[in-house]
Amino acid sequence: MPTINEKLTEEIRTQAKALLADGTVAAVIGYSRGSLPMTVKPTVVRASEDCGKLVWNSFCVLNLANYLPEVLKSVEPPRGPRDPKPEGPLAKVAVLATGCWSRNIVVQTQEHQVDRDRVVVLGVASRGMVSRRKVEEQFAGREILAVEEFDHDLVIKGADFEEKINRWSVVRDNCQTCTRPDPVLVDVRIGEPASERKNPNPFQQVDKIEEKSSDERWAWFTSEFSTCIRCYACRNACPLCYCPTCFVDDAKPQWVGKSLDAVDTGLFHLLRAYHCAGRCTDCGACESVCPMGINMRMLTKKLNKDVLNLYGMEAGMQPASPLPLTTYATDDPQKFIVTEAKAVKEGE
């Protein structure tokens, strides 16, 4: 009996093949098999005969929306920076999208990075992606040589061991707290739709940190980010980070120093997170790709919580309305605003 993911893989291949074969799309962004257990390669398929290499499994942790603007550009006829946009409709690109990735596509559309009409969303409901790090931590000191995936279990194999573990126990934190596994955009449905998950408090991890004292929070912050090597994998894996020149690369003025100074590293992460405020869909790509295992998602999650509580918005859920920080209301909260002499902050 094929597993759910095997069935989805089959369906993805069939749909991708059909889309490429009849010329609906010029490229399909998906995943192919990785060279190590628990890895996959993001892949752009441009020919229908190559669709056989597409796969779908529990290790698809990178957000494919990240590739979308560039692949869209690659299927356009080449033109110089000052040349006019070519006449007529441009070629389309199909992309696999789960709940959070599809919301990123919504954000990209809102920010005019992606032309919605040129995207065919292959919507697939996410069952939660497995954190490779969580699995490796469970098997610390032992080398994992193969991982076999079943619907609810993973079988981890090494040279001298074979163990079965529950899949959900090693699913990434962001997937475990996710309430919207089903894509908000679907042009071609892959598999069955998923219903909204109940989660009374998706921000539990954030709350735990908020409960700490100021000193404890500072201690947490400095220790959490102390192992950062400034490789910028978190930034580059993020579909929101498309600035041609990132603030860390600015030389005039130089906002953030570039070496492994604790302050510079901290500032980088604070600013990176802040730049995602109101736009982050908590896809967890940043955390998954970090080679040092830093949980930088806590910062964006905190911002997500604030955006939801203060402005009632979640990224990618209101395609018609502007992004939270590109609009305002006359009665916005004045928490940090000193209104008069001896002013007390609102809410204190």
Partner: protein, 345 residues
Amino acid sequence: MKVFRLSQTELDNMVQGWSQNRRVYRPAAGRQQSTHADCAPGWERVAASTPLTLPPGPSKTSVKTFLFPQPETMQTYTLKSSDPDKGLMKEPQKATEKQIIVGLRPCDARSVKLNNLPFQEDPFYQVNLARTVMVGFTCSAMCATCFCDQMGGSPMGTEGLDIAISQVDGSFIAEVLTPVGEELTAEIRLTPAEDSEINALAERRKNSPQADFAKLDVLKGRDLNTLYKAALWQTLGESCINCGACTFNCPTCYCFDVQDEVVRGQGRRIRYWDSCMFPLYSLHTTGHNPRGQKMQRTRNRFMHKLKYFPERYGLFSCVGCGRCVKDCPVNIDIREVMSDLLAVE
């Protein structure tokens, strides 16, 4: 060459003994909660009562951080108008204190030698090299991501090490390879290894995977432009996200950038790791970027390791530690790149 046999306790005592009056570092055990001020991520100062056990494979981050620290202060200066030395660059006092690195693997030890080729004339690297003692652990087995044998190393290799420690059924055989290593072992009473143990180790070394250049050396003879124009770069560049995870964890990536930092009138010029994966790396002031596309940057990294570096220095700039294979967010596997390159017509 002196060879000793140590039990786990003796080994721990020896390392802790060194740490009494020297800086001794080891790969961090598990996920780090914090890093020492003098210590790079992935490594920790040896403290009393931490038994030295290493997981298989190389440490999380490479040993280059001790020889080519991130950042290294190149010059210091003041910008205060009252100071007659305003704007005068001064070289900082170079640290000469010995540092002992315990627990690096043969691949990392080889990387120090490889980096020494471009850094042959570099004052900072040479000072650090002179003050670093490397106490390495040979590998009993190769991990699935290891390929040191293909790159000219071997899991039981001792090249570049001062002391090589090999695990032999529950105890350890320490081979003292250099005068510095002898100095370190001279202060402790150690049991010399039996001849049979030395022979057994030699036998094991003989049977372990040996450096095999034959397959890859073919690349050296290939035409640079053919490889440069190969179609594989396009596919590879398309999935690469151009982060620096591979370059920063790579023991043999040695590019650096130079920056000035000024805080309240006091300044320093530092050098720190850079990555050819970043667009800024090659960007001209005019806005022109010779490697403006993702694909070009991905290509540059692999071409540098497998073609440009060998053309200059005769050896591949890779030791086969497999860190980039493990850490790449999009699973770009240098072993696959190498076999694809070999297949390029």
